[in-house]
Symmetry: none
Subunit: 208 residues, 4 copies
């Protein structure tokens, strides 16, 4: 029990290898997810990472653990951008810009989208992680912009986070710039005075 301390010269270093493996796995997973989807055989990932399957299972016992780790990588940077943008832009523009960055961030994780929509209960928790980290950031931006009258106030943080995530799904024959373009369209809709539809559609129950 006290032996570890009793051997000061052995700082339990092997961790470096383990860390390297975890990173290799993460990197490989990102690649493979993009290539073959989140349900790609574990072997494909470990082969790419150059480790044995056992190593994958040691660090990520559940497939969803790996997915989660991939999802979460980079999310902090995205969250951090919010306050910074608020500081240097008008509320509306800060919001728009953050959404563009968010879109870009999602472009990084294209292969994950199917997992989020797979319906597999194992991934049910994933969106929560997004919300938890990014929700508060976006809420801040959204509220500020709404308060300044620069965007409509009937769209929630949650609405937006998911709508954009949806718009970021890869589309055959199109790259990330397509998604940026569509998101821009949505943002325009957000900033435009609410239209809802002309004359007769105003009576339509459009689910709002």
């Amino acid at each position: 029990m006290t032996e570890k301390a009793a051997r000061p010269g052995v700082p339990r270093r092997t961790r470096a290898d383990a860390q390297r493996n975890v990173e290799a796995l993460l990197k490989a997973a990102r690649t493979v997810f993009d290539t073959s989807g989140v349900n790609a055989p574990a072997k494909e990932i470990t082969d790419l990472a150059g480790v044995g399957v056992g190593t994958l299972y040691r660090h990520f016992p559940l497939r969803s653990d790996l997915v989660k780790a991939v999802v979460e990588s980079g999310i902090d940077a995205c969250a951090a951008a919010g306050p910074q943008l608020s500081a240097v832009h008008e509320p509306g523009e800060a919001l728009a810009e953050w959404l563009r960055q968010y879109t870009e961030f999602l472009g990084t994780k294209r292969g994950l989208a199917p997992a989020l929509h797979s319906g597999d209960p194992a991934y049910e928790a994933l969106p929560g992680h997004f919300l938890e980290k990014l929700g508060p950031v976006l809420t801040q931006l959204l509220d500020a912009a709404a308060a300044a009258g620069e965007v409509r106030d009937d769209v929630s943080t949650h609405d937006l986070l998911y709508a954009i995530a949806n718009l970021c799904m890869p589309v055959p024959g199109q790259g990330p710039e397509y998604n940026q373009r569509m998101v821009a369209l949505l943002i325009d809709g957000l900033r435009a005075p609410r239209q809802g539809g002309s004359s007769d559609s105003s009576s339509t129950d459009d689910g709002r």
Copy 2:
């Protein structure tokens, strides 16, 4: 339905059963796809349809055949709505209304979305079917609205068809009305004068 009569010399008596089976399979597939995704075990579908697996394979040798059939069911009605709407609405509103109907149509096929984004090459052809049938219809509406200056002219049929398909992906905790709401936002963006960003953002390369 009229096929029996179409082959006078062939007393193909069971044709009615086969037809009934195909329909049962289609119905079951729609349900199961929604519930368990497009890769649900074949057994799940055949059990629900009340037929043997063999019957499924006879009519839909490839899984993608079944998916394709499900995708295509109802698409004609959606396509037909275009001209009708053009006839009774202003171009912009006709477009908006058609997109709403398209959204509703997609709501019918929620379970299919993952297939479209699965990356599985077997489903690569699916989007083509959409485009083929619905593309011309939407193009007509879009061009008319753009010509009338009611919508921006830098968004293509293809762009829109996919963007809305993306926005129609199911979101946890939300029903179809959520998707309608987000689509409405996109439509607003489409009808709004192009903004691209406020003053300073005009210089920003916002990916468009």
Copy 3:
């Protein structure tokens, strides 16, 4: 639904094959269990039976289903012997003889013993099956013998069924006749006037 009836000439015969497979599996399982224990790889059994693994899983989804089936095969014959013996023997001898036959029956299932004692919860239900079928039979014999004063009355059906099952566990270097011999010893103990220990042992807590 009514189609089956509509084709009287097709009596759904394939069952013969299935039945043959089930029997082949049961036979193979009995052999393999004896050879390699109840936890032998499924492949070993299916190879011996000459069927694919899938067939094993179709008929016996759980390993314990197979074990149970093996356990139960032959149990009815054993149960049936009870009344017959009662009819032609004195109570004490009927009991003894039945226990001998029970021992012989267990010899048939030597490989199963470890399963019963594996502690694996999957097999927890197995003893129940024994009890259910054989318990009543033995109870009858035991009560009759006790009533006739030919055996002690402080040993229950349950006690005996398990004790003998235990005594029937294979012993290295010994065949079934060893087990018969030990069971005979137990039976002698059962028929002997209760001793509990001589004079001084009467004060011993002998666990009874």
Copy 4:
């Protein structure tokens, strides 16, 4: 314990730790064997012992080494009891009492029984260890009792050692006292005048 002193020239300092580990492993193994069987994952044992897997393998390279060590722990005390009992009891009672103590000893190792009956060749040697240590002791007692006419003379040491080991297998819903009771029954049979079966069973080939 006294080993340090036993090797004067070798300043083997860590010996104490090693010893402690071995003991911890033995204790843990006993527990785990009882709980999860002899084939429990090594990790389960090392976790309980609070050591790394490597340590387990250092001291017990083969699983059977560990099992053997567990089996043997306590066996000496059991062996030693024989002569003591002979000294203070009549031959028959000495034997009976020793068998009771042996039963109690086995109760300590309940989890091991499946190993002995697993058929796994790795454990084939185990029974030999029993025999080697306890055989001579029991032989002495048995011979004395037989010579005194207090027990039948057609049951061997080997027979008894195994029969009782079998009777000591855990039975669902029963504790060690059940096993004591069944062993007592066997002992009664041993002490009873040989019966073999009444009149008519004498003609039965009852496997003896």
